[in-house]
Structures are given as structure tokens and as C-alpha cells.
Symmetry: none
Subunit: 230 residues, 2 copies
Amino acid sequence: MSDDSLTTLVVDDDYRVASVHQGFVEKVPGFVVVGQAHTATAALSMAQALQPDLVLMDIYLPDGHGLDVVRDMLDSSRPPDVIVISAATDVESVRTAIQLGVVHYLVKPFGFAALADRLSAVRAARAQIADWPQDASQEEIDHLFGLLRPAPNPGEAAELEHLAPTLQLVYKSISAGAGLSASDIAAQVGISRATAQRYLTQLEHVGAVKLELRYGQTGRPEHRYSVRRR
Amino acid sequence: MSDDSLTTLVVDDDYRVASVHQGFVEKVPGFVVVGQAHTATAALSMAQALQPDLVLMDIYLPDGHGLDVVRDMLDSSRPPDVIVISAATDVESVRTAIQLGVVHYLVKPFGFAALADRLSAVRAARAQIADWPQDASQEEIDHLFGLLRPAPNPGEAAELEHLAPTLQLVYKSISAGAGLSASDIAAQVGISRATAQRYLTQLEHVGAVKLELRYGQTGRPEHRYSVRRR
DNA sequence: GGACGCGTGAGCGGAATGAGCAGAACTCCT
DNA sequence: AGGAGTTCTGCTCATTCCGCTCACGCGTCC
């Protein structure tokens, strides 16, 4: 990628989720991930060291609150753009995020397309700001605001498109049923139980499916997975 | 090629697909590719900088909708002719494309011959307009309109005709079987596995063949390719 | 004759899978 | 309450294949 890629720091307490999101970001032309952080302390120090253009920020971190980190990040001479990525939808989190001036707020779980739309909007907004006239017209202001407004979520098919082939099959298999075990999925797809389990855990971590345990029988309880409906 | 070649901009989010399409265009006499764009932004700015006669426009781009780019391209003092090349066939996309005045709409995947037909039609239409008589007959009008209507897809043999020699052999090899691996194809054609893999990936990306994974054995699963039937 | 571009193959690092085992998590029984 | 037994998950490791880089050969151009 050329020098004008936007450098991005991914912050999430769960390193697996962070890796999935890093994968998403790196699929979008014009963006490059320069680091991952899994704690508030690490996030702040990496932001200072790396000076990323963009930060994907989770709210719940082991040693602090993500929005506190955002406040510190934005209070610098070269603040990054921040997209909050969190399962938290409480009014305080949303309001604080807005007040701090984060450019987007993505509610977990989200798919690649949803993130890709916002990354593109960020890129466009930066371009417009960089070329901002002395006396901006209402149209230009409206355009910029439009770039910073969340676009509606695309369909499931679009979300699946950029996934690894086996992950796609696993997700499709769950979508066709409910409360399926790793062995069920494995049998349907034609893969091993261990591989199915691997992907199911991944999907559960990014919030695409939900987990329930089957109790009432001897032995370790079976994990049952269903697609998380929005 | 002479100075009167029609300059063409190829727009596709996937640079490999764009390269395949560039290869197609450059096989047609009278056309020259002056650039590739992989985002909406790049496409538009390149269109403004290069002033191409023709644009091949994908609809789904990372930072915007192809038809939005088309709208902007056509709203200029010297608009290009636009051929939409997309997998999208929903009524909204098609209708909008028509309303915008794109001259053709190609549904992915398509072969060289399908594109070549339309390029020839575009060239003929431009020549006809340039040589438009004072009092045009109904036949001349009908002929012009006919040039701007999509032609039916030619057969597979015609599609193969202008492909690179090795790519042709690979495609023929797949057509003769089903669920073949890169090693199978390599053995049949007499090329290395790496070369077969390279072309198979290319064919898969443009949608000419479909990919399935062979599960059930330890080790990385084998990619199996089959011709995608229409 | 040398530089350059292109296509190909060799070969290497790493991705992705399954086998299989240790241990986790539960139920049942004493 | 604790131990035994059962069943399942998580993980490591070996295997197999893919993706990619680099070198080479060949043809073209200057």
C-alpha cells in the first residue's frame, strides 16, 4: 500500500476480536493497521508512540474506560479520528462519545460492510476537511455531516462475502438451524468437530452468533449456537 | 495503436479483476486503457484528470456506490460513455443506470466476447454520431439505438478466443472435469502447480469458476475448481 | 549488446485442517 | 461434600496445501 494509507490502531480487550477487526480494516483499500492494544494503558501509550490517523476503540477495557482513553487521545496536538466499536448502547456512553467528537459509533456485532462503509466515510471526510474552503457553503457542510452519519447496515449476504470459505459455510449452516452443536455443524458442513468449534468460537466472540449451554445430561455441557438476530 | 483509440478507465474494487478487464479491453482494436481505479474517489478524480472516452464502472466500491460516481462523471462538460460492470441485478441498480444514461450494463461474470461486443458497439455508435447526417432516416436512428442495446451472450468457445494462451488451457482443462485441484490442472496442462494456481485464482475472482474446499484430511484443504454454469 | 518487461517455475513460509489428548464442566452416587 | 464417571471443549502438533517472492529465460526495444 502507498504512503497515503491511513494508519489505524485497533483497541479491544479480546485479542481475537481485535484480530478479526484488524482483518476487516486491512481489507479496505487505503487503510493499514499499525498495532493492536488490549488495555487502556497500552492504547494510550501506543497512540502516543504510533500517532495513528484512526483508532477503533472499545469501551470496556480491563484497566480503564475506553472513552477516558479517547478523551486523552483527542487532547493532543495531532488527534486521531476515533470510531467507537462497542456492545454498549447506554445513553451515557453514546452521549459521551458524541461530546468527545468521535466520528462514528458501531454497535457490536457488526459485519465487514458496516465497518467498510464507515472507514470510507472517514477517508472522504478527511479529504474534504483537507480541502476546506475559506467560506464553506451549506452544501459542503451538509456533505461533510453526511459523511459522518451512520449508513444503514447492509444485508447478511454482503456481510458474508469477504469471509473465509469455511467460515462462510459454518455461518450458513447455523443460519439454517437453531441451537446447533459443533458436532451438528461439523456433520452438515463436512468438516471436523475441532474446526467447526474453532470457527464457532470466533463467530461467538465477534457477536455474530449467540451461545447457550445444554444442561441436564451427564458430562460436560454441550455448546449450542444460534444466529444472533438483529 | 493510433491516436484515435478510445481512452478507457477501468473501475473495480478488486485490482485483480480490474487487471483482467484491462486485459480484455486492450485486446480490442481501437481501445486503450489509460488507468485503473479501485475506489469511487480514485475513479472520479482519475476521470477528471484523464478525461477518458469510456469508463467501465463497477457498482460496489469500498468508498461509494459506482452509480454515484457515474452520476458525477456524467455531470461534466465532456462526459465519458459508461458501461456498468457489476454483479448487481436488482431493479434499482438497473433502473438507475438506465436513468443515468449508461450505454451498457454487463452482469458479472462475463467473458471477453461479451465485453468485446459492447466495446465495438460503443465505437460504432460514436462513429455514427460523429458522421450524423443532416436529415437522419428512421433506419439510422434505429441502428444507433440498436448499438446501445445489450447483445445476447456468445458461447463459451467465443469467450475463450482472446484469453491468454495459458489461461485458455487452464479453463479448457476445468471445463473437461469437475472439482479439479491446481495440481490436477497442472498435470493435465503441463504447467507448474503455482502457475495453475495463479490462473485459477484469477478465474475464481472474475466468477468464471467456483471454488470448493476438500475437507476430511489433515493439512490445508485442497482447493477444487469447477466451471460455473449459467 | 544491454536494459527492460513479462511469463513461468522453484521453493519457502505460513495458513488451514484433523487427530488426538488433557482437562474442563457437568451429573450421579456414596 | 467429595469422588467417580461421562461427555465435551480447547489446544497442540503434524500434515498438506496455498500464496508469494525471487530468479531465470526469452523476446523486444533502443
